[in-house]
Amino acid sequence: MTSTRTRGSRSPLASVGLHATLVVASVIAVFPVLWILLTSLKPAQHAITTDFVKEPTLSNYTYLLESSHFLDWFLNSVLVAGVTTVLGVFIAATTGYAVSRFKFPGMKPLMWTLLITQMFPMAILIVPLYNLMGQLGLLNQPVGLIITYLTIAVPFCAWMMKGFFDTIPVEIDESGRVDGLNPFGTFWRLILPLAKPGLAVTGFYAFITAWGEVAYASAFMVGDENLTLAGGLQTFVTQYTSNWGAMSAASVLIAIPAAIFFVFAQRHLVAGMTAGATKG
C-alpha cells in the first residue's frame, strides 16, 4: 500500500486542528464504553453518581453471577450463537464455492435471492416464524431461535464466502482437476483449507450477528432463565426500576469477549464484507 505520500507539509495550525478534531472524536467514541466500565466498579448504590471510582468493588459482578440469571443467559447466548455459526457457515460454504466457480442455470436468481433476503426486515418473517415455532413447540427453546437465526446467517454467510473464494486463484482448482479430483474433492481438499481465514471471519460475523440480535430474542424467549443476553439485559432496566450497577457489570462481561475477537478480526471483516458486496 502507499506508505510514503509526499504532500505539502502541514502548517502548525492545520496540525493542531487535525489533532484537536481527532481527540474530540476519540473521546466521544470511547467515553460511553469507558464510563460503563467505571460504573461497573462502583458500589451499586453510587452507580448513577458522577464521581470517579472512589472505592472500587467487584460487588456488581458477584451480584450478577450469584443472584441473577446472568450465567443462564450467557450460556443460552453462547449455545444459540455458536450453533447458528457452525451450521450457517457449513451450509453456506459449498454454495459460496459453487457461485464463485461455476456458471450454471439458476445462478443469477440464486445470487439475487441471497442479496434480497439480506434486506428482508425481520418484520415480515417474525410473525409467521413465531406462529410456526409456537405450533412446533419451539418457543422459548434455543432450537427455535437457532432456526430463526439461520434465516439471517445463511444468505449472509454464502455471500461473504463467495467473496473469499473469488480471491483464491482458479489455477488451484484446475491443478486439482488435472490430478483427477472431482469438483467436490477439489473443494474439500484444496479450496476449503485455503479458505480457512475466510471461514473464520464469516463465522465470526455470523456469531456477532446472533450474539447481538434483539427483536427475535425479545419476542420468542420469555421467562427469566430462558432469555439470551439481549433479553436479559433489558430486565435490569425497565420502565420503573433500574439496576444500573448490575446493568453496567453485565455490559462489560458481554462486551469483553466480543471486543477481544473483534480486535483480531476487524481488518478482515470490512474487506470481506465490501468485497462480497461490490463483486456481485
Partner: protein, 351 residues
C-alpha cells in the same frame, strides 16, 4: 501458510474495493448473459445435458436452496397470506393446556392494506422513518468520510486514534444502546450533570419528542461511524498516491484534489456502504426499541418497530396487521433498491 492466505485475501479484497471491481462486475454480467442465451438455443435434450454438466453445482447449492425455501420462503409466503386475513391472538391455532383450538381467522382480502394505508399513522411513521434514515446515513457518511480522510494522512498517533475510533464497533449494539440510555438519564445521567455544571438546565433527552428524535439519531450515528470510516479508509488507501502527486505538481488545491481524485476514487465503495447502511438504518430495530421503545408516546416509532408493536406489544396481538406492515416495508425497500440500481446504471456504473 494461514498468514499468507489471509494476507492475500485482504489484498485482493482491497483491490476489489477500488477500481477493478467495476470491471469484474461487468464481465460477470455479460458472462451469465451468454449462458442464458446458449441455454435458450438448445432446448431439446438440453435438460439431460444440463443435468450432466451442472449437477455438481446444483448439488452444492442444494442445502442453501432447501434452507432458504423452508425457513425463509415458506414464512414469507405465509406472511403475505396472513396480511390478507384477520389473524390475531384470539383466532390463531393454539393450545391451552391439553386442549387444542383450531384457527378460526378468515381471508379478508386487501382490507388490512386499505386500513393501514388509510390511517394517517402510516404516513407519520413513513415520514419519520425516511427522515431518520436520511439523517443517519448522511451524517454518518459525512463524519465517516472526514475522519477517514484525516486518518489517511501521515502523523504521529494515527494507530491510537484509529483504535479509539473503531471501539464502538467492537461492543455489541444492544450493550452500547443501554450505555447511552444510562448517559441520557434525565435526573442522574452524566450528560445532564455536565450541563448542570456549566449552568445549563437539564435536557429531557429521551422524554421530549424532539430531543428523543435527536437522541436516537445521535446514538445510531455513533454506532455507524466505525464501519463507515473503516470502509472508506480502505477505499482511500486503494487510490494510487501518484495521482495526488501529479495533481499537486499541476498546482491543484487541496479541495480540487479531493473533488477530482478522492471522490471519484471512492465511488464504488461509497455506493456500496450507502446502500448497505440505508437498508440497515431503515430496519434498525434495536436502537429505537431499546432506547425509547418508540416513545415518548409514539414519536420515535419507525415502520419496523411499529410492525413489532402490532404483533408483540399491543393487546390483543394483531398478527395480520403486523404482517401487513412487514409486507409494506419490504415493498418500500425493494422499490428503493431498484431505483438505486437504475440510477447507478444511468451513470454508467454496472452493479
Amino acid at each position: 501458510m494461514a498468514a499468507d492466505t489471509s494476507q492475500s485475501v485482504v489484498k485482493a479484497a482491497d483491490d476489489g474495493v477500488g477500481n477493478d471491481s467495476a470491471v469484474r462486475g461487468r464481465s460477470r454480467w455479460t458472462d451469465s448473459g451468454n449462458t442464458g442465451n446458449t441455454r435458450n438455443t438448445r432446448n431439446a435434450g438440453g435438460l439431460r445435458r444440463a443435468l450432466a454438466t451442472h449437477w455438481y453445482a446444483w448439488a452444492m447449492v442444494a442445502p442453501v436452496v432447501l434452507v432458504l425455501g423452508v425457513i425463509i420462503g415458506w414464512p414469507l409466503v405465509r406472511g403475505v397470506y396472513l396480511s390478507l386475513t384477520d389473524a390475531n391472538e384470539r383466532n390463531v391455532a393454539r393450545d391451552i393446556g391439553a386442549r387444542h383450538i383450531d384457527a378460526t381467522y378468515e381471508f379478508i382480502g386487501l382490507d388490512n392494506y386499505t386500513a393501514v394505508l388509510g390511517d394517517p399513522v402510516f404516513l407519520q411513521r413513513l415520514v419519520w422513518t425516511v427522515v431518520w434514515t436520511v439523517a443517519c446515513v448522511s451524517i454518518t457518511f459525512v463524519l465517516g468520510l472526514t475522519l477517514a480522510n484525516m486518518l489517511n494522512r501521515q502523523f504521529r498517533g494515527r494507530a491510537a486514534y484509529r483504535m479509539a475510533l473503531i471501539l464502538p464497533w467492537a461492543v455489541p449494539g444492544f450493550v452500547s444502546v443501554f450505555a447511552w440510555r444510562f448517559l441520557f438519564n434525565r435526573d442522574n445521567g452524566i450528560l445532564n450533570k455536565v450541563l448542570d455544571g456549566g449552568g445549563i438546565a437539564a435536557v429531557p433527552w429521551l422524554d421530549d419528542p424532539t430531543w428523543a428524535k435527536f437522541s436516537v439519531i445521535a446514538v445510531n450515528v455513533w454506532l455507524g461511524i466505525p464501519f463507515m470510516m473503516v470502509a472508506l479508509l480502505g477505499g482511500l488507501q486503494s487510490i494510487p498516491g501518484e495521482l495526488y502527486e501529479a495533481a499537486e505538481m499541476d498546482g491543484a488545491s487541496a479541495w480540487q484534489r479531493f473533488r477530482h481524485i478522492t471522490m471519484p476514487g471512492l465511488r464504488t465503495v461509497s455506493m456500496t456502504v450507502i446502500l448497505l447502511s440505508t437498508i440497515w438504518t431503515f430496519n434498525m430495530f434495536p436502537v429505537i426499541f431499546l432506547l425509547t421503545r418508540g416513545g415518548p408516546g409514539d414519536s420515535t416509532e419507525i415502520l419496523v418497530t411499529q410492525a413489532f408493536r402490532e404483533a408483540f406489544i399491543t393487546s390483543p396481538r394483531d398478527f395480520a396487521v403486523s404482517a401487513t406492515w412487514g409486507v409494506l416495508i419490504l415493498l418500500l425497500l425493494m422499490i428503493f433498491a431498484l431505483v438505486y440500481r437504475r440510477s447507478l446504471r444511468k451513470q454508467g456504473e454496472v452493479w
